[in-house]
Amino acid sequence: MKKILLIVAVLMCVCVDASAVKMSDLKIYINPGHGGYESDDRNIEIYPYEYGDSLGYWESKSNLYKGLFMYHMLDSLGATPYLSRIKNNPDDDRDLYDIAEEANSLECDLFFSIHSNAGETVNYPLMLYREDAVGVPRYPEAKTLSDIVWEQLHSNELPIWTRDEPYVSGDLTFYPQWGTSGLGVLRRLYVVGLLSEGSMHEHRPEAHRLMNMDYCWLEAWHFVKSIMEYYDTEDKFVTGNVAGVVYDDHNTRENTLDINRYTTHGRDVNMPLNGATVELRNSAGNVVQKRTTDNDNNGVFVFRNVTPGEYKVVVSKDGYYVKEADVTVVANEVTYNDMPMSLKREMPLEIVSYSPVPAEGELVSCVEPIVFNFNTDVDETSFEQAVTITPAVEGSWEYSNSYKTATFKPKISYELTTHYTVVVSTDAKTADPYYENPNLQKEFKLEFDTQGRNRLELILSYPSEGDKVHYETPSLEFRFDKTLNAQNIYDKISITDEAGNSVGINRRASSSNKLSNGYGNVTLQLSSDLEIGKSYKVVLSGEIVDSEGIPLTDDVVINFEADDQSVSHTGDILEEFEDASLFTGDESTSISVERVPSYYRYTSRKLFGSASGQFSYSFADSEGGEAVWKYNGGYHTVLTGAKIGLYVFGDLNNHELYAEFTSGTDVKYIKICDVNFLGWKYCEASLDELLEDFEYLFTGIKVAQRSALYAQSGALYLDNLIYDASGLGVADNLVAGGISVYPNPASDEIFVSGIDAGDVSLMELYDLAGSVVASVSEGNSMNVAEVNEGIYVLKVTSGENVIIEKIIIRH
């Protein structure tokens, strides 16, 4: 212990109580945690020190300072203290087991391991004691001591604490990941002990304080006072202390702390003053102690061991007005008195620059902020009373650059195409409270005219009000007239069910701003299926803004219902879209496409079978394009008067989807739907446009570009194509040249009348795929009892005459 550096002999007095414990009875082991700028030391970057600079903050250093101060206080009080280390070299990072053994071997009464904690946004003490098992303190006294120390440290008013509830824990409870080993220095102790995490050194203002010797001394003082309280010693501190922080009463610490990266609370926002002279004067006006705040941006001062009585604290610093405060010093206590200092500006307020400054005829965005830069920090109260904006607009002022910049942001926006005048009267002044002429010398005026757009517009959405949405993990999309500011966009959209429960969004599968031509959108992939038949509600917050900051303004509410679009519909399946070679992009008939339309078998998005067909298109311009795919499948005959249906997964691009039917040289495009939806939808279309008495074959798909500008490329997915001829109202007799076929629909047998049986050379029954399902070479009747139900085409050949009629078989 010979290497101990003696610093201060603390004045003590003893009030005798025969039964009480004396400080001189005690052996205290002090373990300043970590040590020596080594790998398990904890270094952080604080202004102006780079990471790794030994002059900067290292936990080992502040731990050691506290330990040394504690040692000397205890020594002065007559106790027997021991220190696990007195230096801070790499060799001082001791083995945890031999630290504990030393305390055991020395038969100490208490063990203090001194640390600080990580934690950037918060700041509070944490006390840890040894447990034999989770929830079972090895020594109940260790928990009692921990409770006392926590309260003592928390009573220190120099830090800004973010937690007032005691935080005391056993080591096994706090570190469950370490099993039964717990804290190394506590595990092998058979001494009542604790590990104090005194405050959070990752919290930057706290790290700056931990660089200060007086601050470390004060923590040590609280440790010693805790020991007095724990033992209820007859010794008490007969002196008191005065502590506080010297800081600028208006300017912030932006130059010494990155406020965008690190957190500040309370007066830690303000700039602490380095190099301030702080004097403690007695009632006779004599200086009894003097401090100069250090250069580590904490402003801390502590007058130690002051005789109780009335004093005055006087703070002076170049460029600041002198500050005085009366304090009363009480024995065994700390009197806290912060010293906020007023900067001498000693100049009138000036506006050195401002915006907007539009060129002649230039219009200003309806959300453009108004910015003033001043020659010094402005007094925000007088400034806000001095400034008027005409016409009035709701908004707020924000200050930055230590109140040298004031920025007005309209709450929503300015009015459209409106002339605005901003006037700052001479009532605005600097923050100097003592200078006789701080006001703006001349009224200032700023004028601008606003543009014709001040609202973000929702121009298309899926769902729209009342839509039915296929229930399976649906996608929803909302399109706007301008690219969005996508920051936190998913937090500004809520989806709820009938009970108000939130419906989750799969953010990784969702996207935004994928449209062309300056439009904005957000596509939401829901994370679970919806419940068929239930109602849901989407709310788009009015806080959604575009890339200029122009807001949606009012919440948009859209109600929709979940249903099942995969239910089967009446009719026969003409095409199942299961094969990869069913369609080919047709370059010759496509118009204004950027590339040949493509077709793929697509297995990850389907309603039936194992795949759907993906039809991808990309138009060359914003309108007039057509993408055509030719059908390579079988022959599927359709007739006028029937209907077709198609399961379509839309892309919300609002283009038109057609099915192509061909009879000879006659090509008809039957419009299936406007693709103004996202996800699966069953779409039906009448075939009435087809010519009567002609058979048409399904021959292709076409997407016709509308003049909508949102997206020039996209993809549709098609699943089963249905042909529904049930509504044809087919007559029993079909007449062609006096020849009739009956009954129709037929169940067992078809008869041909108006022609002799001997004149019929062949009767053939075709299905809609073009295959012969039955044939008769003689006679004028055909047995169809074994033919499946459906629509068929009967071909009757008589000499050179051929009669073709459609027949419906029903059993």
């Binding site: 945890l96 009464d109 039964t180």
Partner: protein, 302 residues
């Protein structure tokens, strides 16, 4: 005593070539299945084993032949640094209690043959050391060796750490040694069985041995804790790593005090600690962080 070089890792023989090397093999490595046990201490003849709990509460003695275990004490602190004589017939230990939150302890003697403990020193706050050298044990109270033959040999030589100093005591004659520069601290001070060398740990410098008069201090390991003699030429110790908060690795090492050559007896992942050996019986016992005791049977080959 022949110079030995131990190099055993988890029962695997790893021979080391040395001019004076004696090859040691581990004949056997086994768990001593007595439940959770920590801080083992073998008697010099290897027939008795003292063990306690992680927190030093309670003390037991295990007969290494019959594997029968007896509780000596269930008291607080009874397991902290007890001593046992050569044949394991006598044990000194202490009880600790908090009186007005002040720490007090007494000293007890346990007779392993008859069973039962008697109080040797009453509860108090005086400096007490339980000392052991080459199977002889004694109680030191305020710098004086206590009592008569019942309390141990007063005439033997002992070395111990008192207030971080090395004290060599012959009878009631004390001699303070400072084998290292001023300001050094001395922990785990132990005299070799032949009374010629003193083993100690300087917490900032490592593990050392010096002559009985404090001269010829020699560092035998860069770092280590809980060292103990295995004969006169080999020291066992624990080497651990930590992150400043908890121990992340721990293993038993052996070092030849003449050559300084180290060997691992366990791996760092074993979390092994507190080895105690008996060269007479060729046994080493250690515990791990989970309270499992392991016995290594050592075979010495010329």
């Amino acid at each position: 005593m022949k110079k030995c070089l131990i190099l055993v890792s988890l029962g695997l023989l790893l021979p080391v070539l040395s001019a004076n090397a004696v090859k040691l093999t581990v004949k056997n490595s086994q768990i001593i299945d007595i439940g959770e046990a920590y801080h083992p201490l073998l008697s010099d003849n290897g027939e008795k084993l003292l063990y306690t709990s992680d927190n030093y509460r309670g003390l037991h003695v295990l007969d290494m032949g019959s594997m029968n275990s007896n509780e000596i004490s269930s008291s607080e602190g009874a397991g902290y640094s007890p001593v046992i004589n050569f044949d394991g017939s006598k044990v000194y230990y202490r009880n600790m209690q908090l009186d007005g939150r002040l720490r007090k302890k007494n000293v007890m003697m346990y007779d392993c043959i008859k069973g039962g403990s008697v109080e040797v020193l009453p509860m108090g706050r005086s400096d007490v050391k339980l000392m052991q050298t080459a199977g002889e044990i004694a109680v030191l109270n305020d710098d004086k060796i206590m009592g008569d033959d019942e309390l141990g040999s007063k005439t033997s030589v002992y070395a111990y750490s008192m207030h971080d100093r090395i004290v060599v005591q012959t009878g009631n004659v004390l001699k303070e040694l400072n084998p290292l520069p001023s300001g050094s601290r001395y922990l785990w001070v132990k005299l070799s069985p032949d009374h010629k060398k003193i083993l100690f740990v300087e917490p900032f410098e490592g593990v050392f041995v010096c002559d009985i008069d404090g001269t010829n201090a020699k560092r035998i390991a860069e770092d280590g804790s809980s060292p103990s003699w295995y004969g006169n030429n080999v020291v066992l110790f624990t080497r651990s790593q930590d992150d400043g908060y908890h121990v992340t690795a721990s293993q038993i090492m052996a070092v030849d005090v003449n050559t300084g050559e180290e060997s691992q007896l366990t791996t760092p992942e074993s979390m092994a600690e507190d080895a105690s050996g008996s060269i007479t019986s060729g046994k080493i016992v250690y515990s791990d962080a989970n309270g499992t005791l392991r016995l290594l049977e050592i075979n010495v080959v010329e």
